[in-house]
């Protein structure tokens, strides 16, 4: 059974004012209905003419655009489809057939901090590995290496294995690497919610500086405070569809009313 997939087109045209265009975005997942998920069951199902999975519709036709230099917030309840949307934008999942996504420029996603961090390796080794995953060359990593540790305030722990770090230290190190990433479009999933108050302040400063630089950003968050503070525009997703779009305060208001 071949599944048809939609289009994710990458272009690079600075004169185009749209950074991202999403047209008629649909996505469903195949969830296995059987408890066992192996070869025996697959052959059995094929013989009996059972599909063995059911389609779970997650995104049901999204349309929106992100302008260059815009700070877009995406809000919605758990399970509304926000993360799936981000993963499709990031190219991790493929969109379904008839969907079209146009990404204009270099998109850098942060679905999770510290991807590929390995507890058995030292901080130094992990920094280089994580840097490679973010697309940095070794030369670039050498240049920013000291800054990374300084920003994370963890210089003393460079040669410790990561398993000896506290969870707060891990997040600080990961964030410190992540913010080095340079892309035309940054896609961030909940990364604001890290560290203690002092580190939060640093993060907020970083986001403020991005906003000042007119960096194109898509931020998925549950923090309405951040939506009001940073975003130029916001989108609320509910049950796989866009339920509200526009002014951040109004969207935040609508989001809060979901819980009343």
């Amino acid at each position: 059974m071949r599944r048809e997939i939609g289009k994710r087109i990458l272009i690079n045209s600075p004169e185009n004012e749209n950074a991202i265009e999403v047209h008629n975005l649909h996505k469903s997942f195949r969830l296995p209905t059987e408890r066992s998920w192996g070869l025996k069951q697959a052959i059995f199902n094929r013989l009996r003419g059972i599909k063995g999975y059911k389609d779970q519709k997650v995104l049901k036709g999204l349309n929106f655009t992100v302008k260059q230099g815009e700070f877009l917030g995406i809000v919605g309840r758990n399970g509304s489809g926000k993360s799936t949307l981000l993963k499709i934008l990031a190219g991790i999942y493929y969109p379904e057939k008839d969907s079209t996504i146009i990404v204009n420029g270099n998109l850098v996603p942060f679905i999770e901090l510290g991807v590929g961090f390995n507890p058995e390796l030292t901080g130094r080794e992990n920094v280089y590995l994580n840097g490679a995953l973010l697309g940095f060359s070794n030369k670039e990593m050498d240049e920013m290496y000291d800054d990374i540790w300084k920003f994370a305030e963890l210089e003393k722990f460079q040669d410790q294995k990561l398993k000896n770090y506290s969870s707060g230290m891990l997040v600080r190190l990961a964030f410190s690497i992540a913010i080095r990433a340079k892309g035309d479009i940054l896609v961030l999933d909940e990364v604001l919610a890290v560290g203690d108050a002092a580190f939060q302040q640093k993060c907020n400063n970083y986001f403020a500086s991005l906003k000042e630089k007119k960096q194109t950003i898509i931020l998925v968050t549950h923090s309405m405070e951040n939506v009001r503070r940073f975003c130029d525009r916001a989108i609320m997703i509910e049950d796989g569809k866009i339920a509200a779009e526009g002014d951040p305060s109004e969207v935040a208001e609508k989001y809060m009313s979901l819980f009343k």
Partner: protein, 276 residues
């Protein structure tokens, strides 16, 4: 300027992918022997120990291979190449699951994960071949120009392993039974490949069996390495059949497995992030 790129076609090993490949290989290699007292030495010790066992059982007790010159080195070469093949395929098949965290969280060409684990196996093989060469020299094998042919056959064995890793690795993402099946296949293949016994011994009892054995690309590659490195007494597919058309069969098998494996992997890799 507008530049269209289809995300289905990864730019094979552009700079970014090369850095990623190198870092993943390094990590893989470091992690494999992490936490063990002898560390990297295990890369050497494992095949040597396997060799010691096989040597005692088959050469000393069962007296196989008495008519082959330099039989201990001949045996060691076989076990080293066999370990390479099993390591390459087993680790390659499991690579996608082992690196599931990356596949779910970032977008990158998935084949890098498989290739990086097979590179680790290649590094191990290089170390082990160093040992083989030292043993060979101690054993009185004369260095010769035919040694230059060894990388060619190793490349063939590598291409086969990579093809198997792509094909079975892609299926293994969805059906985890594949790894267990492959474990059994490896056990069976070990006896189907003339690693411990000389092909001539089989030929004495059944000519047909010997022919089938030598059409297996693994057997062909291993025998050719032994022929070029250790002794021209080694039976190769070439000197057994002496027929260019038959000689092409193992090579065709390798090419087909590699092509089918790569195409299947590429097609399935789009959904790995959802299925892992």
């Amino acid at each position: 300027m507008i530049e269209y790129k289809d995300m289905g076609i990864p730019k094979v090993l552009n700079k970014k992918n090369r850095v990623l490949l190198r870092e993943l290989t390094k990590t893989d290699f470091k992690l494999r022997y992490q936490g063990s007292v002898l560390g990297y030495l295990w890369a050497l010790l494992r095949p040597l120990m396997m060799f010691a066992i096989l040597y005692i059982v088959f050469a000393k007790l069962l007296r196989l291979g008495n008519d082959i010159p330099h039989y201990p080195v001949y045996l060691l070469t076989g076990t080293v190449l066999w370990s390479f093949f099993t390591e390459c395929t087993s680790q390659g098949i499991q690579a996608m699951l082992a690196r599931g965290d990356l596949i779910r969280k970032i977008s990158f060409p998935k084949y890098i994960v498989v290739v990086s684990t097979t590179f680790t196996a290649l590094i191990n093989l290089a170390i082990n071949l160093g040992v083989v060469v030292i043993f060979a020299l101690i054993n009185g094998v004369q260095p010769s120009l035919s040694w230059l042919m060894v990388p060619v056959f190793i490349f063939e064995l590598y291409a086969l392993s990579l093809g198997i890793a792509f094909l079975l690795g892609a299926i293994n993402v969805k059906y985890r039974d594949v790894m267990s099946i492959w474990d059994v296949c490896i056990q069976a293949l070990f006896y189907a490949v003339p690693i411990i016994y000389p092909v001539t011994m089989v030929a004495n009892s059944s000519m047909l069996a010997a022919k089938i054995i030598l059409l297996n690309p693994i057997a062909q590659a291993i025998q050719d390495v032994r022929y070029s490195l250790i002794t021209t007494e080694a039976t190769t597919t070439w000197n057994f059949f002496n027929n260019p058309i038959v000689m092409a069969i193992p090579i065709v098998i390798v090419v087909i497995i590699l092509i089918v494996g790569s195409i299947y992997f590429r097609r399935k890799s789009k959904f790995f992030a959802e299925e892992i």
